[in-house]
């Protein structure tokens, strides 16, 4: 702080500062700037206007370091088991009145209730951080920059950071992995390198620019430690498939299609139904394969019908001929199977 005093200055001091707009900046007056108050008295003695008298004093605005890490959005990130490069995003905001670097660290949550309510019960792997370089709100591999810190974040600037990680296989719908992104306020000493961790000015006020931490204790943070974090989570949405196999006799060589019996030469139709439980992820490219029972012969005139439907538990005679048969194994693929839906593969054999 410094203090100045001026006396007997000219009346022209009166005409100062026109139209001070109020900037709507959260970070506020830049650290190190000086606030000077000027006051002027005009008066008369004996009916005669005297020279005006002015005084001023000033002080230096110190550095208020306030770093905010907050989840970008308010929902969990839905992922599939085995998904690679699953993305959650955070906003890192420098609410300080000076530029800072921000050291970043992302960690897996270890148990407990995750950000969006589920119980953390697995970890993601290969966590990497990317800056939303093109600022489009979406992670773009090859465009967004791999980072370990944010360089030279201007006062009031917000930067989106993506946490990109891999999801292990074998997890079930509803499993949750919490992740935490923590930022540490660091000196913006030089562009291109992470500065030293900022420390608060200890002890009494100094004449220069002092540093005061102003980060809050929101969401389990420690107030005023220069470190701020937030959490987000990944929630598994897996497909939940079940398969059933039914058969019915179509005809035999003696009775035809009227009350056919399982005698040699009879034609039997197999229906394999795959169901995806309600509330699950939609499954794509569901592949069937079935080994023909012994003492049967594949009916190539019928073919393998795939993607048929089921009504009240009974397979309909629909679907497209799209499957194949080779060496006693029938196979086919259903392109997509929505949650709560079921589809079939139909084929026929003749009893030897």
């Amino acid at each position: 702080m410094n203090r100045t005093l001026r006396l007997g200055a000219a009346a022209s001091l009166l005409a100062v500062v026109a139209g001070t707009a109020t900037p709507a900046f959260a970070a506020g007056t830049t650290a190190g700037s000086t606030i000077t108050n000027n006051v002027t008295v005009n008066f008369q003695v004996g009916g005669v206007s005297q020279n005006s008298v002015s005084a001023s004093n000033s002080f230096t605005v110190d550095r208020k370091v306030n770093l905010v890490v907050a989840e970008d959005g308010s929902t969990t990130t839905q992922v599939s088991p085995g998904q690679t490069a699953a993305v959650t995003s955070f906003m890192v905001t420098n609410s300080s009145n000076a530029p800072i670097d921000v050291a970043l660290a992302a960690t897996n949550r270890s148990g407990g209730t995750a950000e969006h309510g589920g119980t953390d019960n697995f970890d993601v792997s290969g966590i990497a951080l990317y800056q939303d370089t093109n600022n489009n709100g979406a992670y773009n591999a090859g465009v967004d920059t791999l980072i370990t810190y944010l360089d030279q974040v201007a006062a009031d600037a917000s930067i989106r950071v993506f946490v990109v990680a891999n999801v292990p296989l074998g997890r079930s719908t509803g499993d949750v992995a919490g992740v935490r992104l923590a930022g540490t306020a660091s000196e913006a000493t030089a562009a291109g390198s992470l500065g030293a961790t900022i420390t608060e000015t200890a002890g009494a006020n100094t004449a220069g620019v002092d540093t005061v931490f102003a980060d809050t204790n929101v969401g389990g943070n420690t107030a005023r430690d220069g470190i701020h974090f937030d959490e987000d989570d990944y929630t598994i949405l897996a497909a939940n498939l079940t398969a059933t196999k039914t058969s019915r006799i179509i005809s035999d060589p003696l009775n035809g299609t009227t009350n056919p019996k399982m005698i040699p030469g009879a034609v039997v139709e197999y229906c394999i139904t795959v169901s995806n439980a309600a509330g699950s992820a939609s499954a794509a490219n569901v592949a069937f394969s079935d080994t023909l029972p012994g003492a049967t012969t594949y009916d190539s005139s019928f073919g393998v019908k795939v993607n048929g439907t089921v009504t009240s538990g009974t397979c309909n005679a629909d679907g497209a001929i799209a499957g194949s048969h080779a060496s006693g194994v029938v196979s086919g693929t259903i392109p997509s199977l929505a949650a709560g839906d079921n589809r079939t593969m139909l084929f026929r054999v003749t009893i030897n």
Binding site: M1, T20, T22, V41, F43, F59
Partner: protein, 153 residues
């Protein structure tokens, strides 16, 4: 008061200047609210040591008529510093300006022009100047203090 004393000490070697002279000082304090173990809050005014955006400020203006005669038509004008947002006046009788000192009035009577040509009622944050006009003549040796509040932008 210690700065007033400082000011007087400064003036003493300059008797010629002190003739017909009014002494004026401006002091700025930071209002600190502290909460004790019992949860009671106390407010104190401190010299502006560590000051960061959002800190409440109290501006204290002292004046004293050092002359031998009456000072009349006494007008104290204080532009609000650029990095300070005006909050309110503690001392009664002030008028405000939101246009750089061209027009003056009670805050409720002032309006601010919008970019589209319309205007809106002025808010405390729009204030650019504060002024007191002291109606009574100030006798020789008479002194007083005026206060207003602001906050560091």
């Amino acid at each position: 008061m210690r700065f007033l004393a400082f000011l007087l000490a400064f003036l003493l070697p300059l008797p010629a200047l002190a003739q017909n002279q009014v002494a004026l000082t401006s002091e700025i304090f930071v209002e600190r609210t502290t909460t004790d173990a019992g949860g009671r809050q106390s407010v104190s005014l401190e010299a502006p040591g560590v000051v960061t955006p959002g800190d409440p400020l109290v501006f204290v203006l002292h004046y004293r008529n050092n002359a031998v005669s009456l000072a009349m038509d006494f007008v104290v004008t204080n532009p609000i510093p650029e990095s300070v947002s005006y909050v309110n006046a503690e001392s009664a009788g002030s008028v405000l300006s939101v246009d750089g000192g061209r027009t003056w009035g009670e805050l409720s009577s002032l309006r601010v022009a919008n970019a589209d040509g319309t205007s809106r009622p002025a808010a405390a944050a729009d204030v650019t100047h504060i002024r007191w006009r002291i109606a009574q003549a100030i006798p020789a040796g008479g002194q007083g203090e005026l206060r207003f509040r602001g906050v560091v932008k």
